[in-house]
């Protein structure tokens, strides 16, 4: 178990290094002089020279990266060009809001996804199953931001059940979370359905029936547990994906999270902030992946703790 976690963390660190190179290179990939682009057309030559120095862009690339990564490791993601505040402070201020959204979205997607998945599997090939499958295809086809707008138009504008995009309270949270949840639920639904159908054909389900157990015990105690093991992996990946999905949804609801921060930074060409957000999201994403892998090895008793062999 320990060995497995160590390996997983090590490979995660490698990937994070890769992302740091990617986010570092962003500024160098800009066609033309990045500093001029950051400062806009009206910048004076002195300003350009000053910012170039400040960002260390006059040094060799490797030296720059060395400096960059040293700073990052020490928690210094640079300074926002627009606000002059440390990038990490800006990010950490917004991050909890994004997490709030993603976690609630995930909860909703798990509830919808698993229940519809069970329903579809239980009534395999029936009209219910077909509706669920159609829902799943619809879920991956509908633009999340349009779903968000529709929900707002129906529930906030027409029915006035929820406030229109203002604060970050619980009532403000519901519509964006539903949007995220519906979109993310389709994957969970498909996986639960197919997993359930497969598991229900297993010998141990027949054993459970031979014991005279009631259907709900067979379904929930014997089948669902086995289905959930792979589903948990996907749920974890969904959480990471949801963090990406919030970027768009936050725009619709003016949600003060990482997404609005990143988009704002792109508009104002605040590159240290852009780099910082992307690196930060990468780190979060990979951390979640590692946690999911570890969780997986814990909940599946077949994954042997010592060797991780079958």
């Amino acid at each position: 178990m320990k060995q497995f976690i160590v390996n997983r963390v090590l490979s995660g660190i490698v990937v994070i290094f890769g992302i740091s190179i990617f986010s570092f290179l962003l500024i160098h990939l800009i066609p033309g002089d990045p500093v001029k682009i950051m400062l806009g057309i009206n910048a004076s030559p002195e300003q350009v020279v000053k910012l170039t120095r400040h960002l260390g862009l006059d040094k060799p690339l490797l030296v720059q990266y060395g400096q960059y990564i040293t700073n990052v490791i020490q928690g210094d993601f640079g300074t926002s060009l627009k606000t002059g505040r440390p990038v990490l402070v800006e990010i950490l201020e917004r991050f909890p809001e994004t997490v709030k959204l993603a976690v609630f979205g995930l909860l909703i997607s798990v509830v919808i996804g698993i229940s519809l998945g069970i329903l579809a599997a239980r009534f395999k090939d029936s009209i219910i199953d077909k509706l669920c499958t159609a829902f799943a295809t619809l879920g991956v086809s509908i633009p999340s931001f349009w779903l968000a707008i529709l929900l707002v138009m129906i529930f906030s504008v027409q029915l006035s059940w929820f406030p229109i995009a203002n604060g970050t309270g619980l009532r403000d949270l519901i519509l964006p979370a539903i949007t995220l949840g519906v979109v993310a639920s389709t994957m969970i639904m498909r996986l639960t359905r197919n997993g359930m159908i497969e598991v229900l054909s297993n010998d141990y389900i027949r054993t459970a029936r031979a014991k005279g157990l009631r259907n709900h015990l067979i379904l929930f105690r014997h089948a669902l547990r086995n289905v959930l093991i792979p589903v948990v992996t996907v749920i974890g990946l969904q959480l990471a994906g949801l963090l990406g999905g919030t970027v768009i949804i936050e725009q619709v609801f003016n949600w003060p999270g990482l997404g609005t921060l990143a988009v704002g930074a792109i508009f104002s060409r605040d590159f240290p902030l852009i780099q910082g957000t992307i690196l930060f999201m990468g780190v979060v994403y990979i951390t979640i992946n590692i946690l999911v892998d570890v969780l997986y090895s814990i909940i599946d008793p077949r994954v042997d703790m010592g060797t991780k062999g079958a």
């Binding site: 349009w146 999905g245 994403y285």
Partner: protein, 298 residues
């Protein structure tokens, strides 16, 4: 002489296993799949609308009707007008053109670079494979929309840049799928057999690899078109893609969003258009997957 003779049956097997037969089988299956036919037919119509949008649109998409600003759907303007009096239906029809061009171009980028990387990885293997796949892993570690955002950040907001960004952002996923499929083929024996009879690398690549990954390429290209449409619309929606007054569906939605209190049609129809087209693409993709890649179905 003798050796040559013993190799003959292998060669025969190579031709026997060649994908031509599989392909005609699949086409037959495809022609019998009702949902696939419906989707293809529908997408064909969408395509036609895209080509002939100037003929089909009732108005110029940029013509301003000053008397009818924010007018609800009526006989004159079937889907209403927007905040500066443009005909929504006409913009929607022109939007087909923009959406199709952009998403197809984006997928073309994904397709060529992704296939190239995937095939190289699978075929060359060794450290090349390792290095390329590590890079893909790193890029895959970011959600594709974030990756696209980063690229747009570098290139600057515009429709072309959004297209490039979306195309590039899908490459890692695509390359991975192609590599996986190609490795399965590589290890399936007949590539080895043809290499043992001295076929050249490029011959193997062209005649053995490509035809055999055709099905998978078809499936995932289709599915990635859906992703491309959604992602470019998303980028345009947050203002990093198409810029006004381009009649792009995502941009139209973001304009419509500001008027959702009093002009529901502005934020309804462009979204509906995206959803229907992407739905058809995905449905077709699923049908194709059932036919060409049944193992990973659903």
């Amino acid at each position: 002489m003798r050796k040559l003779e013993t190799y003959k049956p292998i060669q025969a097997r190579v031709t026997y296993k060649s994908p031509l037969k599989i392909k005609s089988d699949s086409l037959q299956k495809l022609s019998r799949d009702k949902r696939a036919i419906v989707c293809i037919f529908f997408l064909f119509i969408v395509f036609i609308i895209g080509i002939f949008s100037p003929l089909l649109a009732p108005h110029n998409p940029e013509e301003l009707f000053y008397e009818s600003i924010l007018e609800a759907p009526s006989k004159e303007h079937l889907l209403g007008t927007d905040a500066i009096g443009r005909d929504v239906l006409s913009r929607l029809i022109y939007g087909v053109r923009v959406t199709l061009t952009v998403s197809l171009m984006a997928v073309t980028i994904t397709f060529f670079i992704g296939t190239l990387i995937g095939l190289i990885c699978a075929y060359v293997g060794g450290w090349v494979d390792n290095v390329l796949m590590r890079i893909m892993d790193i890029l895959l570690a970011l959600p594709s929309i974030i990756l696209a955002l980063a690229i747009v950040a570098v290139l600057g907001p515009s429709l072309t840049n959004a297209m490039i960004a979306v195309g590039i952002a899908s490459i890692p996923g695509f390359a991975r799928i192609i590599r996986g499929a190609a490795i399965t083929i590589k290890s399936s024996g007949f590539v080895e057999a043809s290499r043992s009879i001295g076929s050249s690398h490029s011959w193997i690549l062209r005649r053995q690899f490509l035809p055999n990954v055709t099905g998978i390429l078809l499936v995932y290209t289709t599915l990635f078109i859906g992703v491309a449409i959604l992602d470019t619309a998303a980028l345009s929606f947050i203002g990093l893609g198409a810029q006004p007054p381009t009649p792009e569906w995502g941009t139209m939605l973001s304009e419509g969003k500001n008027y959702m209190l009093d002009a529901w049609w502005l934020a309804t129809f462009p979204g509906l258009a995206i959803t229907i087209v992407v739905f058809a693409v995905n449905f077709l993709g699923d049908a194709l997957r059932d036919i060409f890649d049944p193992k990973s179905s659903r």
